[in-house]
Amino acid sequence: MQVLKDLLRDTRFRFGFIVFLVLAGLSVLSFFSPYNPYLWNQVPRDLPPQWPHILGTNSMGQDIFWKLTFAVRNSLIMSLIAGLVSRIIAMIVGMIAGYKGGTADRVLMFLSDSFLVIPLFIIIVLIATMVKARLSLPMLGLLLGVFGWAWDARVIRSQVLSLRERDFTYTALLSGSKALAIVFKEYLPFLIPLIFATLIGNMSWAIGMEITLAILGVSNLDIPTLGTMLQWSINYQALLLGYWWWVLTPVITSIFLFIALYLISVSISEYLDPRMRIQRIGQA
């Protein structure tokens, strides 16, 4: 809680956090939606924003505001799955590589280098194309999770490398602790903030990927997400027809979401790096 309080002193974090809370609140609202997001023709089509349709309606006869609540919820859930899966992989790889060193380190880092080097985007598109219709939301999250860990594993590894040199490691080793126990019991508390910062970065990457995949038409377009909302509006030429509220809603929401996640992650990583922290206090 003290950490949160410290972080909230940073304007950027405060802004990001509030925007994020608003969006999270929006996704909770989806549980109270009067409409089913999968059904068409529930409200009059193509209405500009007006009461009771505060963000207007689209050409499929859906209320944009309530559709948006589902879209935000689904995008967040998907990115959370992706983030958690890739965090688990990154943690295991990073910790083992960092602690064991030697051959294990070399093999694991070669693996993560390969993941950094191969054109992941194209491979994800390749996979998504081939399973297209069957790609459910958790599956998409899992897919992005499996491919999104490499960089963060490196970050965690370098942190473990520096922890390994500290005194308490030797104390623990000399008093007979097992290597794994040290890594998970002693190092984890140091790594948690780092893992949290990379989690947010990874979530934002996953949401961006989802939007891109939807625009390419390779994700499951029936599921309401920020990407598929945008894809449908472009598909129906909403801009040319002048239905700006249909296009702008997902665009502006996602811009806010990206900026919020970005500010939160920048703010946390600066908080973690004391050198940056001093500079920040100096400026304030």
Binding site: R12, F121, I211, L216, I259
Partner: protein
């Protein structure tokens, strides 16, 4: 000799290993997925209303399997795939049927290569200069303004930024063409006029790429410079009375360049992925458009061809940078 054994050799080995891992992944992933490209192709023919008797279908299945390299056991397919790959043969494309994939790629490559090479390099140079200066003079007003702009543009998904530019500069203020690489139906013959048209079509896609690229490099460079700035040797140089301009140019920026050079290699390799969205938004011809068509028509061979090429491109650019690295960083030279 020490250089070859301790520096060159490990890097060459990694280079080939990574290519092997990447291409093996591209080979196996489609084969483990529950879709059958041959069946898909035949289904499409049948759905279009073509009548075929069962025998013809069977023959066709065989031929297609042969063409797509899906004949025999997984191991045989794998060996065959490598044999063909080493000859530069990716088989025929689905979507423009008898044309080999490699020819389609050759036709599209120049468009992508020139657009993305120019924009990647330009944004790298501009971003680094701006970032370097901003990192050094981090309390100036213009730095804070640039920082603010970077914070909004940087996290924006590229697709949305590009779409916004297109709406603004092609629909609302129609200065630039809505899309295409060249005026429709024109044959390209070299003349200054044609070159101008070519540039006009490339302007918006280039602008969008440069805009987002500059701010990515700007932020990275600014962070590095800020930390280099507080190193002892910079303080020492200042105390020694060396001109500030010289410190920035010779000591700070030079040292901060190293991670940026690695970054350049990585981003050069990501060109094909980046091209995909750009070329779709601005309907620009090139590898991205080719890839998009491949995705839509389920063109298996073409997808494999483009992915393989992009693996080769990225690993090679990283290898080259790795080999040139000792030229920039004396600390690596005699390791």
């Amino acid at each position: 000799m020490n250089f070859v054994r301790r520096y060159l050799l490990p890097r060459l080995i990694t280079y080939f290993l990574v290519i092997w891992v990447g291409i093996t992944m591209i080979f196996f992933i489609p084969r483990f997925l529950p879709t059958d490209p041959v069946q898909q192709f035949i289904n499409r023919l049948v759905a279009q209303g073509t009548y075929m008797d069962p025998k013809a279908i069977e023959e066709m299945t065989e031929t297609l399997k042969e063409l797509y390299g899906l004949k025999g056991s997984l191991w045989e397919q794998y060996i065959n795939f490598w044999k063909r790959f080493l000859k530069g043969d990716f088989g025929p494309s689905y979507y423009q049927f008898p044309t080999p994939v490699i020819i389609l790629i050759k036709q599209s490559l120049p468009w992508t290569a020139w657009l993305l090479l120019v924009t990647t390099l330009l944004s790298w140079i501009i971003g680094n200069i701006l970032g370097g200066l901003a990192g050094y003079f981090s309390n100036r007003r213009w730095v804070k303004i640039l920082d603010g702009i970077a914070m909004v543009i940087r996290p924006m998904p590229y697709y949305i930024l590009a779409l916004g530019l297109l709406i603004l500069l092609a629909y609302i203020i129609p200065i630039f063409p809505i899309g295409g690489g060249f005026a429709i139906g024109m044959q390209f013959t070299f003349s200054w006029e044609n070159l101008l048209i070519l540039l006009k079509h490339a302007f918006l896609p280039a602008l969008s790429l440069i805009l987002i690229g500059v701010f990515i490099w700007f932020q990275a460079m600014k962070l590095v410079v800020q930390s280099v700035k507080s190193e002892d040797y910079v303080k020492y140089a200042k105390m020694g009375g060396i001109e500030e301009k010289r410190i920035v140019r010779r000591y700070v920026i030079r040292n901060a360049m190293l991670p940026q050079i690695t970054g350049l290699a990585l981003s050069l390799g990501q060109i094909f992925g980046g091209a995909l969205i750009t070329e779709i938004v601005f309907s620009y011809p090139g590898i991205g458009t080719l890839l998009y068509n491949a995705i839509f028509t389920g063109d298996y061979n073409l997808l494999m061809g483009v992915s393989t090429l992009s693996i080769l491109l990225i690993t090679t650019s990283i290898l080259l940078i790795d080999l040139l690295y000792p030229l920039f960083d004396p600390r690596v030279r005699y390791r």
